[in-house]
């Protein structure tokens, strides 16, 4: 009788100790899953921000004229309109076709 009870007690013992162990790991899995979920969300946000930065960079590059710094243009003898002593000048370069 004792010999039969021994394994039964062992099984009970295992069941009792492992059971909470099982619920412990499912809890952990849930935590990990949640972590992964929030990581994914974080990554998505980073990717979105990266795309926005890329777009911004692209639009900056499209507006290349901003790179122009300075040029000295000789306007002696050129036809003009307005006050010849005006402080500001606009020079149009154009053709007729």
């Amino acid at each position: 009788m004792k010999k039969i009870l021994m394994p039964a007690g062992l099984i009970l013992y295992i069941l009792l100790t492992v059971q909470p162990g099982f619920s412990h790991t499912t809890d952990e899995i849930k935590v990990i899953k949640d972590d992964i979920k929030s990581l994914r969300e974080g990554q998505k946000a980073i990717q979105k921000e990266l795309q926005e930065l890329r777009d911004l960079l692209k639009s900056k590059q499209a507006a290349r004229p901003a790179e122009f710094k300075e040029a000295i243009i000789n306007i002696e003898g050129a036809h003009f309109k307005g006050d010849k002593n005006a402080k500001l000048a606009i020079i149009e370069f154009s053709d007729y076709q």
Partner: protein, 149 residues
């Protein structure tokens, strides 16, 4: 351009200067047209010819240029001689090389800046292409602002 003329040129804030940049590779008669406008300028009709050729950009062949000149009341023989002698070829080439030096290769293109002694302009802003009025206004106003102090 009419808005800029009214708000800035006619009020003495801005001097508007025209320079030739005939794109010969694309527009075969553009150089001739530029010459014709300068030749008309010899007889005091630079802007009139300028406007006329802008409005009639389709058929700028030499015969038409002479017709346009006559239409403006220019002396045809004098005008023809100016074209035949190519009196303005060198000047136009200078305009073109100046544009290239400033990094301009397409038309229209605009440089905005401050007039400097010795018939020069120190250009600090560039606008490429036919942009809306607001683009010009912003550029001009930003340069006008510090001078109000």
């Amino acid at each position: 351009m009419p808005g800029i003329e009214k708000e800035y040129v006619n009020t003495g804030k801005l001097k508007y200067i025209f320079k030739d940049l005939p794109l010969e590779s694309i527009h075969k008669n553009a150089f001739r047209a530029a010459e014709a406008v300068s030749c008309a300028g010899d007889q005091g009709k630079f802007w009139e010819m300028h406007d006329r050729l802008f409005e009639n950009q389709n058929a700028i062949v030499t015969e038409n240029l002479i017709k346009h000149a006559e239409g403006l009341g220019l002396e045809a023989s004098k005008f023809k001689t100016c074209l035949e002698k190519g009196e303005y070829i060198e000047k136009i080439r200078k305009d073109v090389s100046e544009a290239h030096k400033a990094g301009i290769t397409g038309t229209p293109a605009f440089l905005i800046g401050f007039t400097a002694p010795g018939g020069k302009v120190r250009a600090v802003k560039m606008i490429k292409g036919s942009q809306p009025y607001a683009v010009f206004k912003n550029a001009i106003d930003s340069l006008l602002a510090p001078q109000k102090e």
